[in-house]
Symmetry: C2
Subunit: 426 residues, 2 copies
């Protein structure tokens, strides 16, 4: 990385030594896991570049935004409506992290029995290795699971600009009213932060921008129905991860360009894995950068991942927001309608998610489903028991994996995944 | 137990062999832990009798209620308003359980990383050893923590009469509106179940009955300020546990009779422990019958427990409901006001609880606080980090204990508690 970046990081308060170590591991991991893949679409070079500059050029862009008077808002969850952020010419960046960092320090603040995703978010802040969080003008924490809800009380001491968004637990009329009230409150907070009044024209533009981004992801997802799969699950996951960081129109264009290429591949019956390779749907907890452990294990075991039923995947991207409204209120209603459909395991009951898993397994012609649970994630791990039961009843092979960010269980997971892949071979 | 009871249990579907084993352990535990105490108030003989008949006479009484056309409602949480249940001449019984049972079977349905309280509730149902749950006409599950919220989805397959009550996560206007809507819905469900229309006169009577019960507990709590303590923490905990099971007016009278006796003791400077014995406040997760492990360890280590900041304790009993309303709606508002004050760790932020712990430590002249966390209870264990920090800053000695229902850690806990008691000696 250039000296220019080192000064930028230093000015943001980054611990350069720790950060060098992190980037070293990240670069090595990316090389081993992504660049070693065969038959990658040429369009993935964009994402390779994005990842090589993930703490460099992208941070410079965010700081340029700030210098131009615009604001950066960080979020830990797909329930934070990017439509509202974009309507105020602000930028939303995902802050979840997929690697253990400063764990000893984190466990002085959080119980050890906290999931790796939450610990990692704390570790990146405490360890001063995340330029994204340091570049934010506002960070949104949301009351999803107990782990996040209660840890934000502690994060509040570390982040002076933390804003808490409440969320419902049931999809009732009262639950929806609560979500609407919270989105209206969030809109006001964004307006205050940015000095921009979000009128109907701005909100419409925000909805359209984000819809286009999600539509590009739908297009990408749809192309994965093909056999042979035209893109690896790892590369598709990467697109889903960069979804949370990148400039919205540029990301949208890049995904669409890859889709153009994949369409040509499909016509030529070309793929990244042999035709007939076992096809796997991943379902469960989100996978934030650089949490590539399980997909890497799966795709080096002879199977291809054809879909992600995940926040970093179709759970986060699947629905568009109705853009036909003409008033701010009607568009807020449309946004509430869209996010209220997200079938996160924090909701009870959550039948929609089961139906969606089954639908995805059919749509993407999956031979089996691997349920991915982050250890100590009560909502998803509890649901995984029912997912397993339901899929077994439907004759869909399923395996539950509960893990964390450590590499200690790689050997054991590899053995289990290989056995599963062998079992589902057609 | 008499043959009459065996037939009653059998008719309820109880597994008699397993149940005999459970009662054997329970009886032995009660003998060793409660009856071995010295200087107990004579009035505790009522609770000794209640406990000796906990699955006998009390169940017979409940079945008599049912035969007379009245209904039994079970609950797992202090958020279920007994005022509304009593207004419909129905009976509310607590269903939480404090012992491991059928754990192997439970862990086929629930993740291993689920707290002992939830696992125990499942175990008592699956193992068919809880006549209370079998006697209920309706069971109320509530969306408090993730563990309970998600496990009720599974319990729903085991309990045909499960009713889910939603709860807010923040003490906002929307949160309060949600609680009110849920209490109105619950009132309707109770009316449908019982065939009783809850009018203002009935609701007033319900409020008065429950207020008297709670007022008796306030009186008992107040008497524990004395040094020497006139009653052991174990006996006071027992009263707090029986609070959830017993006939309301009879329980109220029994507690008041003990209070009369304790007042005489205090006048004579009599107590259960020597004057000046180290005084401990317990704070944290609820302790359901027969979860007496930690209090027993504390009180056999030379200290006396002077208060419980717990659902089974002052968190559950502290506030009365304003009974001055004259309409159903105004009384529902008063009930909502009362329960909305409960400072359960499911709320965020939850500053009130910290203040209450400090207030209780002062009021009951505690020399130290032991925070009791059930392993895998994310809300209370996460809060315990902040409780420790705050109490330390205030110069109040504090120790955090995270445990479960097993007896494996008794030796280790005893060593830690003895060291803590030694440290806080005046």
């Amino acid at each position: 990385m250039s000296e220019d970046y080192r000064k930028m990081w230093s000015d943001l308060g980054i611990d350069l030594t720790a950060h060098d170590a992190l980037l070293g591991v990240l670069g090595k991991g990316y090389q081993d896991i992504f660049l070693s893949q065969k038959n990658r679409p040429a369009g993935m070079s964009y994402f390779d570049f994005v990842m090589s500059e993930v703490h460099g050029l992208r941070i410079r862009e965010l700081l340029n935004e700030k210098e131009a008077g615009r604001k950066i808002i960080g979020a830990y969850c797909v329930f934070v409506p990017e439509e509202i952020v974009k309507a105020a010419d602000a930028t939303l960046v995902g802050l979840c992290a997929g690697a253990d960092f400063a764990t000893d320090e984190v466990e002085k603040l959080l119980p050890r029995n906290t999931c790796a995703l939450i610990k990692s978010a704390f570790g990146f802040k405490i360890g001063k290795v995340c330029p994204y969080i340091e570049a934010t003008d506002m960070v949104v924490g949301e009351n999803t699971c107990d782990g996040k809800k209660k840890s934000y009380e502690i994060l509040n001491d570390l982040l002076p600009n933390l804003y808490i968004m409440d969320l419902p637990q049931m999809k009732t009329a009262e639950g929806k009213a609560l979500l609407k009230a919270e989105y209206i409150r969030f809109k006001k907070a964004v307006e205050e932060l940015t000095g921009v009044t979000i009128d109907a024209a701005r909100l419409k533009k925000g909805i359209e921008l984000v819809n286009k981004k999600r539509a590009a992801m739908h297009r990408l997802a749809g192309l994965r129905k093909a056999d042979p799969a035209p893109i690896s699950g790892l590369d598709a996951l990467l697109a889903n991860q960069v979804f949370f960081y990148d400039d919205v129109p540029r990301f949208t264009d890049s995904v669409n360009r890859i889709c153009d290429e994949l369409e040509l591949r499909i016509k030529k019956d070309e793929g990244v894995f042999p035709k007939g390779a076992p096809r796997i749907l991943i379902s469960g907890c989100p996978m934030a950068v650089p949490n590539w452990k399980l997909p890497w294990i799966i795709e080096t075991s002879g199977a291809v991942i054809v879909g992600e039923e995940s926040c970093v995947g179709e759970r986060g991207t699947r629905n568009l927001t109705d853009d036909s409204g003409t008033t701010v209120d009607s568009m807020i209603d449309a946004i509430v309608d869209r996010y209220f459909k997200v079938d996160c395991a924090i909701f009870t009951p959550n039948r929609d998610r089961l139906d969606h898993i089954i639908e995805m397994a059919k749509t993407y012609k999956a031979d089996g489903v691997i349920h991915y649970g982050l250890q100590f994630c009560q909502p998803y791990i509890t649901e995984s028991m029912g997912v397993e039961k339901e899929l077994q009843a439907k004759g869909i092979p399923v395996m539950r994996i509960d893990t964390d960010y450590s590499m200690e269980d790689v050997g054991q997971l590899k053995t289990r995944v290989e056995a599963f892949v062998e079992m589902i071979k057609r």
